[in-house]
Amino acid sequence: MIEQLLTDLTILVLAIFIGYEIISKVPVILHTPLMSGTNAIHGIVLVGAMLVAGTPEGPLVTALGFVAVVLGTINVVGGFLVTDRMLRMFAGKTPGGR
């Protein structure tokens, strides 16, 4: 139990440092896509939703699991698509032209 917790905490702490390092390098002009892109990434909670929705334990669990999967998928699909829409506008633009 404690061993598992320590492993998880190690990963958490290292991820904090990596997160800080890579995110502080993102320029201000891309902060909105950064936010919507990372927003899509926390949609990974969909994986958790699938794991609980896939174990049939009665109507309440199924119903809540279904809602969690819907919400998680909206987060993932919507987040990535909207970020792509924004980044398309930034990509491939040269000074003074489009």
Partner: protein, 474 residues
């Protein structure tokens, strides 16, 4: 229907690959050229993680999952492809709330699993489950309120009422007490848990309601980081490392953006969250009234479209300062057209973007990118401020508080200390504005009374197009 199962170690390896793709994806966001590719890599990582999970032997029935993914995917696709760039902040808030809601439900179902099995909840699981549910629930309802405020469904003003802070504090204490009870006893108690969850949902509403619309960039960043942390907590409950890594990355991103936004306004986060900024129009005190009177006495100088066109056409350098008013008037395309006409006459045009212009971090850059303004012409505060002294014209369009000199020289002003764009250092200041109405913070702007300042009243989009025509005939 039954799918083949993958061994747990293979699934964990795919999760590791997904985490790596997320990290590389975010890293590629550091340049506009590679950013789109980065987002694509992250979405590939997500797809791999989802497919691997489908092949997990824990999953026994696929019907619920398939239906949920189809419905969620449909809603997400339609919403993402229809949303206007001006409405991006509320869209991101909604997507963020969805993730928070999902995290809260997953944590709650974990709790329910213990209850159904009649097993005691070990303290570590109890803490992580409750944290995931609490933060996820706050993010869920908080994001919905933020959406309502940005969409204009709920008033943008900070909503305050008597005893607001004590009530919120008591609610918070009740949540803490319920959590402590659930963790310490260790016996699953679904009734107490349900009350805890309801209180957490309510707290999300109470938490965002007293925050004004102009402070939404901070709120959205903070809620984004909340959902990340809720996801990480869920990862602890499910012992799933990809959830911990991704959730933490997002938590770090949201926290950093929150910090940057607060720094840009020179206000501590506590002031943003609990200060009820923009609750009522400020300056109603005697001093404020006296100052307003003095300003009214001075009067502002109006300028015609033709004169504006002449000044702009014969300038060597023009710095455009766009504000939220520009987005509201949908004037970004007309403004870009104006910049094009000026550039064709050899005028040097730059855009000065204040960090809090717009309703989420970096929002103004997206709006201008949509209007095909090359991002090389967009300058942030530190880069552009030394340039104002050499500029012939500062053209302010729909911006107000971010150019208010009171932030520099009036310690009694609520925005005192906020770094501003030094528009008053340019030779001429032209201000496109709908009316003399104060900005979001409800503060008078003495810049409008500056002897160098000229007001061009009217709808920003309409006025900008008129100026374009006038410049062409100069």
């Amino acid at each position: 229907m039954s799918l083949p199962h993958l061994p747990p170690n293979v699934i964990r390896s795919v999760y590791l690959l997904a985490s790596v793709l997320f990290i590389i994806g975010i890293k590629q966001l550091s340049s506009p050229k590679s950013a789109r590719n980065g987002n694509l890599l992250a979405s590939v990582g997500m797809l791999l993680a989802i497919v691997a999970t489908l092949l997990d032997r824990q999953i026994l029935s696929y019907g619920t999952i398939a239906a949920g993914i189809v419905l969620g995917g449909l809603i997400g696709t339609v919403a993402a492809s229809r949303v206007a760039m001006t409405a991006m902040p509320q869209m991101v808030a909604l997507f963020n709330g969805s993730g928070g809601g999902a995290a809260a439900i997953v944590s709650s179902l974990e709790y329910l699993r213990f209850a159904r099995a009649g097993l005691p909840v070990p303290p570590v699981s109890g803490v992580t489950i409750l944290l995931g549910a609490l933060i996820g629930a706050i993010s869920f309802t908080g994001s919905i309120v933020a959406f309502g405020k940005l969409q204009g469904l709920v008033t943008e003003r900070a909503v305050t009422y008597p005893l607001q802070k004590p009530i919120n504090f008591i609610l918070f204490l009740a949540i803490v007490a319920a959590s402590a009870w659930l963790v310490v006893t260790g016996q699953p108690d679904v009734m107490v848990y349900a009350w805890f969850a309801a209180a957490a949902l309510l707290f999300g509403v109470m938490f965002v309601i007293p925050i004004g619309g102009g402070d939404m960039p901070v709120v959205i960043s903070l809620l984004n980081s909340f959902t990340g942390l809720a996801t990480a907590a869920t990862g602890f409950s499910l012992h799933n490392h990809v959830l911990i890594i991704s959730g933490t990355l997002v938590g770090a991103s949201g926290t950093l953006l929150t910090y940057l936004m607060c720094k840009a306004m020179n206000r501590p986060i506590t002031n943003v969250l609990f200060g009820a900024f923009g609750a009522v129009v400020k300056g109603t005190g005697a001093a404020g009234a006296a100052r307003a009177g003095a300003m009214a006495g001075k009067g502002v100088r109006e300028v015609s479209v033709e004169d504006t066109a002449t000044i702009l056409a014969y300038a060597r350098s023009v710095i455009v300062i766009p504000g939220y008013g520009l987005a509201v008037a949908q004037a970004q395309h007309s403004v870009r057209e104006l910049a094009d006409v000026l550039k064709s006459r050899g005028v040097d045009v730059k855009y000065a973007i204040h960090p809090v212009a717009g309703r989420m971090p970096g929002h103004m850059n997206v709006l201008l990118a949509e209007a095909n303004v090359p991002y090389q012409e967009l300058y942030d505060l530190d880069a552009i401020n030394p340039e104002f002294e050499r500029a012939d014209v500062a053209l302010i369009i729909g911006a107000n508080d971010v150019v208010n000199p009171a932030a520099r020289n009036d310690p009694s002003s609520p925005i005192y200390g906020m770094p501003i764009l030094d528009a008053d250092k340019a030779k001429h200041i032209i201000i496109l504005k709908r009316s003399m109405k104060p900005g979001f913070a409800g503060i008078e702007n003495e810049l409008f009374y500056n002897p160098k300042a000229m007001m061009l009243f009217g709808d920003a989009k309409d006025t900008a197009s008129k100026v374009v025509h006038a410049v062409k005939t100069v």
